[in-house]
């Protein structure tokens, strides 16, 4: 295994400039630096509002960091700074290597649950029938009632939505998985399944960075933790 | 081509002032048009011959007949005719219609040339809406009177746009029209003025001749000239030029079908027939549209059987 970290975050900072509020600056986080070895699982910790989710969003490029580097080693070799790479490069790496599970369902409307889950496989070139078969198996495993498989997730309960979201993110195991409170609205039983799936993925080499509540069962999966620096009072 | 060149050379010879046109004195040029008008028309004709199927604008003159009654054809005839020419004028195949006779008389009066009804004898034939049944040869020129020279007018009212379409060979609108015709009626219903592609490049209006006549335009021995006096356009199909009616692979072009009917007068079953109603009895019969052809057959001098367009029997 490559001794270099898969991901190396250096002095990363995110600030939001609110132009609609006379340019008020809101600090997301700053001075964040950490490394994640390939195959390892890192927990981001810190008090609520410390910017844990924002760090994940910066890595995924849903947020544009204002400072620092996110050095990532893609499968094809070399290194790419996800903070500065072109959108096209980021998209390519995202599609091929990075998964992201949020606590909120952000999937497309009017698409049946099974297709929501199957889509990443189809995008990657799997035959649609095969992709749907695997999607159904995954939905079954994480405890979604078969009657819901052809229904639109928009009508689901919070916990069901979250599980569909999770299934979509892991159906095609990514190289790097970003987890933002993936078990927040799950009951104990569902949580156990999620953790089981994640443990399998980890065993097969998926690297993970997770944000979760202190008492979560997810803790057992984590190899390392990184506590976000406390924020100074905004200027 | 040799004959064509001779034709054009003859046409470009200076007019023979006064030689035959004595009645009206020296007030008119020979062949009515003044020499500069003839020269302009001849130059336009040459351009039209050089770009087969392309409409060439020209300065259409006032003629002593009304616009829409063959002024275009007449101007070409007068610009092209020489003292040695033999003229035939037909109107929908007939040598005897008032219009044809008047035009023939007029040209004869201003030139003194010989006239004929015999298709084979004529060197210049001015026609409205027909091509004679007998095959023309390289020494003959057929001049069409054209009401609407623009084949795309059917689908596009703007002249600016139709010119662009010709320039870019963008004929999809015409094809679309034919497609819609097939969708609506199960066949192409265009009768006269059936659009043709000339030399694989220009879409051309063959004037309102029946579909029956279209195959005769294709790779003919003779020169075809077209002129619209009101619309001020000249175009041409030179000898040996490919002329193809638009058609689809699965909806071939077809000529009119007379279902085995024969001419009441000459018995021909292979010429274009006109339907005739007998006012007294109300009965229907069919006669050859080409009167000269029919006459010859009745005299036993013409071809035994008409020459079916495209050679098909």
């Amino acid at each position: 295994m490559n001794p270099d970290p898969l991901l190396h975050v250096e002095d990363l900072a995110k600030r939001f400039v609110c132009h609609m509020q006379d340019g008020k600056v809101i600090l997301g986080f700053e001075g964040v630096s950490f490394r994640v070895r390939e195959g390892a699982a890192l927990a981001l910790t810190g008090p609520s509002g410390a910017g844990k989710s924002s760090v994940l969003k910066c890595i995924y490029r849903s947020y544009l960091p204002v400072q620092g580097r996110i050095r990532y080693r893609p499968l094809e070799g070399g290194e790419i700074d996800l903070a500065r790479a072109s959108e096209t490069e980021v998209l390519r790496i995202r599609r091929a290597e990075i998964g992201y599970v949020t606590q909120f369902l952000s999937v497309l409307p009017r698409v049946p649950a099974v297709d929501v889950v199957a889509e990443p496989l189809i995008t990657a070139g799997a035959p649609p029938a095969e992709a749907r078969r695997r999607a159904r198996a995954m939905l079954e495993r994480i405890g979604i009632e078969p009657t819901l498989w052809e229904a639109f997730p928009a009508t689901f309960s919070g916990g069901e939505k979250q599980r569909v979201n999770f299934a979509r993110a892991v159906i095609r195991p990514p190289r790097l998985l970003l987890l933002d409170e993936p078990t927040a609205s799950l009951d104990r039983r569902a949580m156990a399944v999620v953790i089981e799936v994640l443990a399998e993925m980890k065993a097969r080499g998926t690297t993970m960075i997770a944000v979760f509540h202190e008492d979560s069962l997810l803790d057992s999966l984590m190899d390392e933790r990184y506590r976000l620096p406390s924020k100074e009072a905004p200027p | 081509m040799k004959a064509l060149r001779a034709q054009v050379r003859d046409a470009l010879r200076p007019g023979l002032r006064g030689s035959a046109f004595e009645g009206a004195g020296a007030r008119y040029s020979w062949a009515f048009l003044d020499e500069s008008a003839k020269r302009e028309i001849r130059r336009r004709m040459l351009k039209a011959i050089a770009i087969p199927g392309c409409q060439v604008p020209f300065g259409s003159r006032e003629m002593p007949i009304a616009r829409g009654w063959g002024t275009g054809g007449l101007q070409l005839t007068l610009a092209l005719i020489g003292p040695g020419d033999v003229l035939k004028v037909i109107d929908q195949g007939s040598d005897d219609s008032v219009n044809a006779v008047n035009i023939k008389k007029f040209v004869q009066r201003v030139t003194g040339v010989a006239v004929t009804t015999d298709t084979r004898r004529a060197t210049l034939i001015q026609t409205r809406h027909r091509i004679p049944e007998e095959r023309l040869d390289s020494g003959q020129v057929l001049i069409f009177q054209v009401p609407i020279p623009e084949p795309l007018r059917l689908v596009e009212p703007s002249e600016r746009e139709t010119r662009r379409m010709h320039a870019e060979a963008d004929y999809s609108r015409m094809w679309l029209y034919l497609y819609e015709d097939i969708v609506r009626y199960g066949e192409i219903t265009v009768g006269a003025r059936y659009p043709v592609m000339v030399n694989g490049r220009y879409l051309m209006d063959p004037s309102p001749i029946p579909r029956w006549d279209l195959p005769r335009l294709d790779r003919a021995e003779n020169l075809f000239l077209f002129c619209a006096g009101r619309e001020k356009r000249i175009y041409a199909v030179p000898p040996h030029t490919a002329v193809e009616p638009l058609s689809f692979e699965d909806f071939a072009f077809r000529v009119e079908d007379f279902a085995g009917r024969r001419c009441r007068r000459c018995g021909s079953s292979a010429s274009y027939l006109d339907e005739v109603l007998d006012d007294a009895t109300g009965g229907r019969s069919w006669v050859c549209s080409d009167t000269s052809f029919c006459e010859k057959r009745r005299r036993g001098a013409g071809p035994a059987e008409g020459e079916r367009p495209g050679g098909a029997a």
């Binding site: 849903s62 | 819609e180 689809f248």
Partner: protein, 280 residues
Amino acid sequence: MTPLLSVRGLTQRYGTGCSACLELTGSRRETNRCPRCGAIVACRQVSFDLFPGEVLGIVGESGSGKSTVVRLLHFDEEPWAGEYRLAAASAADAGGGNLFALSPFARRRIRNEHMGIVYQHPRLGLRMKVSAGGNIAERLLMAGWRHVGRIRERASALLQQTEVPLSRMDEPPRNFSGGMQQRVQIAKALSTRPAVLLLDEVTTGLDVSVQAKVLDLIRSLQRELGIAMLVVSHDLGVIRLLTTRTIVMRYGEIIEEGLSDQILEDPQQPYTQLLVNSVL
């Protein structure tokens, strides 16, 4: 990766214009009308790439120049300046260079072969009196199809794909609802299997439920055909649903571009923030 479509320095000016037009307009000047000569600079120095299979959004308010960009790319009008390359157009067609420099004849061929467009107003993209099938046939006829049976087969397949009842194939689109007219437009645009599909405000003016259906159709076609699309809209919902990358235009200029989720979640420019925060 080689871009499928690439635009550099695209600029369009309406009116006589003066030497100060570009200097005195743009998002910094908060106008696209030259205060000295009154000319409109509809778009200025617009440069971007569209990659194979990608869906790129252009968002902005009316007058931002986004539709002008589409019209220019579709050769509906002549640009004032700019370069335009299309990888799909063979070197022989494109002369290896700027498509704007080609003859109208060559451009029309490239457009018919490689581009499809769906306009906001179906009457711009459809012949309202010609049958729905005929509208599709026109592009095929332009591409040299000369077999009515095969044309009708292809048209039926396209209408089926875009969920237009086949029983209405021989009816003119003026008899159709707005949503169905858009479907016919989409079928027509896809008829020659173009490399690029240009969508100009395709759902604007439709009922919300119809909008959703049209958007779903476009999304499923994109997934099935993998066709690259340029989606122009003032509606961030459309951008969110269809695109992966987004360009924000204002006063004829690109003021911001990024991944669509980044533009929506972390907009940088004041105008983009206003746009995102104005979503109902």
